[in-house]
Symmetry: none
Subunit: 213 residues, 4 copies
Amino acid sequence: MADESLDGRTLRATRKRQHRRQAILTGALKVFGEKGYHGAHISDIIDEVGIARGTFYLYFESKNAIFLELLDGLLAELRRHIVGVSTAEGAPPVVAQLAGTVREVLRTMVQNRMLSTIIIREAVGLDAEVDSRLRAFYAELLHYIRDAVAEGQRLSLIRELDTEVAAMCILGTIKQFVEQLVMMDVQEVDVDRMALSVLDFNLRGLLRRDAES
Amino acid sequence: MADESLDGRTLRATRKRQHRRQAILTGALKVFGEKGYHGAHISDIIDEVGIARGTFYLYFESKNAIFLELLDGLLAELRRHIVGVSTAEGAPPVVAQLAGTVREVLRTMVQNRMLSTIIIREAVGLDAEVDSRLRAFYAELLHYIRDAVAEGQRLSLIRELDTEVAAMCILGTIKQFVEQLVMMDVQEVDVDRMALSVLDFNLRGLLRRDAES
Amino acid sequence: MADESLDGRTLRATRKRQHRRQAILTGALKVFGEKGYHGAHISDIIDEVGIARGTFYLYFESKNAIFLELLDGLLAELRRHIVGVSTAEGAPPVVAQLAGTVREVLRTMVQNRMLSTIIIREAVGLDAEVDSRLRAFYAELLHYIRDAVAEGQRLSLIRELDTEVAAMCILGTIKQFVEQLVMMDVQEVDVDRMALSVLDFNLRGLLRRDAES
Amino acid sequence: MADESLDGRTLRATRKRQHRRQAILTGALKVFGEKGYHGAHISDIIDEVGIARGTFYLYFESKNAIFLELLDGLLAELRRHIVGVSTAEGAPPVVAQLAGTVREVLRTMVQNRMLSTIIIREAVGLDAEVDSRLRAFYAELLHYIRDAVAEGQRLSLIRELDTEVAAMCILGTIKQFVEQLVMMDVQEVDVDRMALSVLDFNLRGLLRRDAES
DNA sequence: GATGAATGAGTTTTCATTCAT
DNA sequence: AATGAATGAAAACTCATTCAT
């Protein structure tokens, strides 16, 4: 009996702990999103969550640490959606795969509107650690895009061009869309349509097909 | 004699004042570029310029004020290069005009590498004032691009597409290039070639011409 | 049965309580000895003992209270070894009694190495209470030594000298030895030999016997 | 003219700076002496001196830094009085030289009553830096005393004994006297007489000359 | 005008103690 | 009794801005 009740208690305590930890993360996310990293003070976070000063430090080591954790969370989620383009038989067309990735990245960032703002706008230069993680993430992203483009070339879907330049352009268009989406306080955005628009632009460019001739 | 010498003195004093003011702006630009807005302290600026602490406040009202002035300077210079697309007779082709603008924007930002970093990365969220100026600038830029695209459509150079989306994509590609250029510590970059690459990407997209058929 | 078992339970509970109280005292002693009063945190003590934070406060009122209790314990033990010099018939020679006391004091402090460190180095100035107890203890000690010296003079064993000064010197030599012993991490020290050395120095001084003539 | 007046101004400014620096040191000394290292807060020091919080940090890097400076000052002054025993012809007798050193050490510490308190009681264990300087100082002191004792033995002034033990005993007696002097709030103490008493005790010990035979 | 010493509000972080479970 | 999460007062330190000289 004792054991069971102890287990129950411990379990409940652990859950409560996790719950509060999550509450602090959520509050911090809101505050960071509203005020930016430098404008957000520990005081703002604890006021938002409704906890005492010391309680914050019971769950996180510092302002920087909680920010890093939020950042890591978002980057991890983004990475989950960035899966290499597959050319296996039966796999969807490369372009469709790309469209899927673009759509998921946009969707994730719109859902994490507040943190995305910071990632895109403010995070660079905050901190050596933050910097290096962001750099690494963007490098991965560029690498992924470059590979996809190269694969498209191998399949003769994509024309001859500098894959490096193309990757940068694509990344730029995505970032700009996220920034726009995040700045607009629109709750419901048709992310799918947007992803298709971005992709369409990147695939076909501005010119009329016959304008080049 | 007295009058003349006074005039002379006043003149010289005014010139000296202007000169020093400029020196402080230059020093601040360097420091902001190296350390970012929050990392840059008044101490860093006065050390860089070689003036006393109080002197800084004789020329600028606050840290924020000098930053705003630098920002305004860059935005003004950028605006000078963003001239509406002309369809007057004898004007260069629209595409060439666009290429020119892209080239000048890139060139200006690379030349003002340090401040550009801040505009792209850090300035948003600093301050209501800074924010609104940046928003206004980007809005103008988008507007300019949108108009140019629309003009291209009117001339049947540009295919049917959402000019809003196209403008955002183009802005995104440019920003990404600037960020890349600014991050790389390359002194000499072939901005012209880059502008052409960006333009080429934006004009033609990724796909092979015959891949669509 | 109920009564008996209740008594038994009460008894067992009381014993357990005493046992745990002692465990906390021991853990605190170790921590205080290693880190000093200010460097020792309640967290260190409860980690050392393996109890919860709140449990500590079930047994002791405060950090200061447990420190005071440890201090009192050591002082009481030291006092037990400081018995007045006896001149009763059949009593050992005064010098031998002195030697015994010095030996016991050194031995006790070396055995309580950790607490002794604090008494000698850090305890003064911590707290009015701690201060007054230490002052009282040292005053007693000085008094004891002074009396012993005076007794030695009455018995014509000890030369004419200021007993106050002599007592202070003797106390000083003992404290210095304890400090040295405690600083050296030697586990086994020949306390007896040391006590004899100290005593020899104090009795005979530096000079050659014939150097005075 | 300008140069001269500038020099004058600079000179005056420098003097004022030195003066204020000294005032802070003095205030800190008083506060440290009254409350001990841990009990002394920056707030106490700035209240004592009558300056703003930031001003303190204009002159000293941290609480630890100012304490270290005070400590170094006292140790330096003490070292000035600890000059090796000279056996050159015409030099004063070794014992007289020793007496001089003891007298000067006592005098210096009594004059720097407040800091001496901390050195003797509290300083060990404060900080790695403080610790190592104190250790070094005491090691020097022991070395000096040991050498003096050995020299006395070479000159047949001092009897056969363990110079290490003797040095520790002598150091102990001196420390005890300083502690006593510092604790007593007596303003005027006959340091000379005390130094002679200490020395007499250390030289001749307790026993009557004829008691040993 | 120039100087730089002085200011003090504001920020992060620590840790002994309390209290609901 | 035991637990350990929560508390919040208190402390060190920063830095944009002011002001007497």
